[in-house]
């Protein structure tokens, strides 16, 4: 197996292991935490709740979209102009610990072609904190994420800290589904040490994607 493929599989496994553990222990720990709706009636699986995002609720999201190079600093050549428009995808889990406030995890991937014919591949893994509110049938969110990313380029790799922030607008298409668009700014610092600090770079990308949220 090539190191590139192995690293991607390893990263995927790292995010899926804790999620699977949470899911396996879910019936024992999360069920009592689900609060009743404000009306005091049990929520119907067929109706959209009038006040979602209550403590104990959970949601999964799949997203895919564009990955737009914004900046590469300091300028050591052609800057971000050497990166082409790319693509991104993501998978996230969120758990509402308080009304409208959720924490969770996110595994993303993004790729951008380069002017020389190479490809830069990024795979961030992070913890998220988000705030959600609604004006049905629309829902809104702002989100911040911190974590680490794995990057591959021309058979070279690096792992460094990662952060992103942004938000989205969604339409509650069905009681369990919301569809929407979201935009995030990715901050991708490339940090070197032990005499290679001159290679330090700070990159920014704008993710504009479509998201599908499943409310568990």
């Amino acid at each position: 197996m090539k190191p590139h493929s192995a690293a991607i599989l390893a990263l995927a496994a790292l995010i899926l292991l804790p999620l699977s553990a949470l899911h396996a222990e879910g019936p024992d720990t999360s069920a009592p935490a689900i609060a009743p709706p404000a009306t005091g009636e049990a929520p119907s699986t067929e109706e959209t709740p009038s006040s979602p995002f209550l403590p104990g609720e959970q949601q999964l999201e799949l997203s895919a979209g564009f990955h737009i190079p914004a900046f590469l600093l300091p300028i050591a050549g052609a800057g971000a102009g050497n990166l082409y428009l790319g693509g991104s995808f993501g998978f996230s889990y969120q758990y509402f610990v308080a009304r409208s406030f959720a924490v969770g995890g996110n595994l993303s991937g993004a790729f951008n072609g380069t002017i020389g014919g190479s490809t830069v591949f990024l795979a961030p893994l992070g913890a998220t904190a988000s705030y959600w509110w609604t004006k049905l049938p629309f829902e809104f969110s702002v989100l911040a994420e911190g974590g680490a990313y794995l990057m591959r380029y021309n058979n070279n790799g690096i792992i460094d800290p990662f952060a992103k922030a942004g938000g989205g607008i969604y339409w509650r298409a069905a009681p369990s589904w919301s569809l929407g668009i979201q935009t995030y700014l990715w901050f991708v610092p490339e940090i070197h040490y032990a005499g290679y600090e001159y290679l330090n770079q700070y990159a920014g990308f704008v993710e504009t994607s479509i998201g599908a949220i499943y409310h568990l």
């Binding site: 390893a10 790292l14 292991l17 014919g117 190479s118 830069v120 794995l150 070279n156 690096i158 792992i159």
Partner: protein, 396 residues
């Protein structure tokens, strides 16, 4: 439960270690991206292997399955040389004695015709008489044809005959074929004989002439003699004793810095002037060339794919016995350009023009096979030496 937790912990640690091993602190990804150059080559060499390049009569030539040329003085691009017509297969092209010689195959088996054409200006071509080359044969069970031309810097011309049974599983396996070498006497080709019982079963890799001797290179034997017809050539394979050349598969023979260099499949480079050698790589080494910038020149040595092991190829450069990977050297200018041009591509040959053009620049060509594993889409790249620095590789 405890066992499950331990297993998850161990798996997490293993995966984390795997991730850490994939990191390279000494390589700047984004800084390399910023230094990339767009490669805008011509369609002539797009996804096409280029086997050799040379200069003749004010033009550069590059050999693919056809012969292609571009003028040095004008800005016109590369164009195909119509040697016999617009359709032919070029088995090889060399410059010898003020002429370009091209080995041309036309037609299909069993009616294939292999001929040698020559030109004194690159524009008009003349076939050597049919009797110049020994008779060839094409049948369902036996093929005898000429498949390579070689030339020395003093104008001697050679042709390799390859005879084999096409029904064998690997007809190019030296053990299943017969190879013979012919020397051009100005009118026709004469068979050369070598004092070895195995020479006729060995593929011929090349011939060069240093200050005094001709070096004839079969794939596991080296002969040396002062006469171009090899009549006084002797087997000097055993003279390369430490390390031993005997038993190795020879992959290339080149003349650089006035010396013969022999390269092997297992990554050794031997210097003919003093019979020394050392292992530069675990990859097969192909051709050697000498270029500036230092007075005595630096050497470049190309690599080839190995049947097994690492697929990373490209070239090494530096002084003899102290070469580094091309990404760390001077000619490629920076690693980003190296990685997006010739890296991962087998290198067939180099050609350095020691005569500066009207702008005072010298051009170095590298001939490669574009690889599926590489971002390189072209078979020919060049880098220009302006007297003080290299431009970096750019697709032709």
């Amino acid at each position: 439960m405890r066992t499950t937790r331990l297993a998850r912990f161990a798996l997490s640690m293993a995966l984390a270690s795997l991730l850490a091993l994939s990191c390279n602190n000494s390589y700047g990804v984004f800084s390399s991206v910023q230094q990339e150059k767009k490669q805008k080559g011509t369609s002539v060499f797009q996804e096409t292997p280029v086997y050799s390049a040379f200069k003749f009569n004010g033009s550069y030539y590059a050999a693919t399955a056809t012969l292609n040329a571009r003028s040095i003085a004008s800005s016109s691009g590369w164009s195909k040389v119509n040697i016999v017509s617009s359709t032919y297969y070029l088995a090889g092209a060399v410059v010898a004695g003020g002429k370009i010689y091209a080995l041309i195959q036309t037609g299909t088996e069993p009616n294939m015709v292999t001929s040698v054409y020559y030109s004194t200006d690159g524009g008009s071509w003349t076939a050597l008489p049919g009797t110049a080359l020994p008779a060839q044969a094409y049948s369902t069970s036996y093929i005898s044809t000429f498949d390579a031309l070689f030339a020395t810097s003093d104008g001697e011309l050679y042709a390799e005959n390859h005879s084999y049974d096409p029904n064998k599983s690997d007809p190019n396996n030296p053990g299943a074929s017969t190879y013979t070498l012919y020397h051009f006497n100005g009118t026709s080709f004469d068979l050369l004989s070598f004092a070895s019982s195995s020479a006729s079963s060995l593929a011929f890799r090349g011939v060069v002439k240093d200050a005094t001797n001709y070096w004839f290179n079969f794939n596991n034997e080296i002969f040396r003699g002062s006469l171009p017809d090899a009549s006084n050539a002797t087997d000097v394979t055993a003279s390369f004793a430490s390390p031993a050349l005997s038993g190795k598969t020879i992959w290339g023979l080149s003349l650089a810095n006035g010396k013969a260099y022999i390269t092997t499949y297992d990554g050794y480079i031997f210097q003919g002037s003093d019979f020394t050698g050392y292992q530069q790589s675990s990859l097969p080494l192909t051709q050697v060339a000498q270029v500036p910038p230092i007075a005595s020149g630096i050497l470049l040595v190309g690599t080839d794919y190995a049947i097994s092991g690492s697929l990373a190829v490209g070239y090494y450069e530096g002084a003899y016995q102290s070469m580094v990977g091309g990404a760390s050297g001077a000619v490629d200018n920076n690693s980003a350009i190296y990685n997006t041009t010739v890296y991962n591509s087998p290198v067939h040959a180099f050609f350095y023009d020691p005569v500066a053009d009207a702008s005072g620049n010298n051009t170095l060509f590298i001939c490669v096979s574009p690889s599926l594993l590489s971002t390189a889409f072209y078979g020919l790249y060049s880098s220009v030496w302006n007297g003080s620095s290299w431009s970096g590789w750019s697709a032709e």
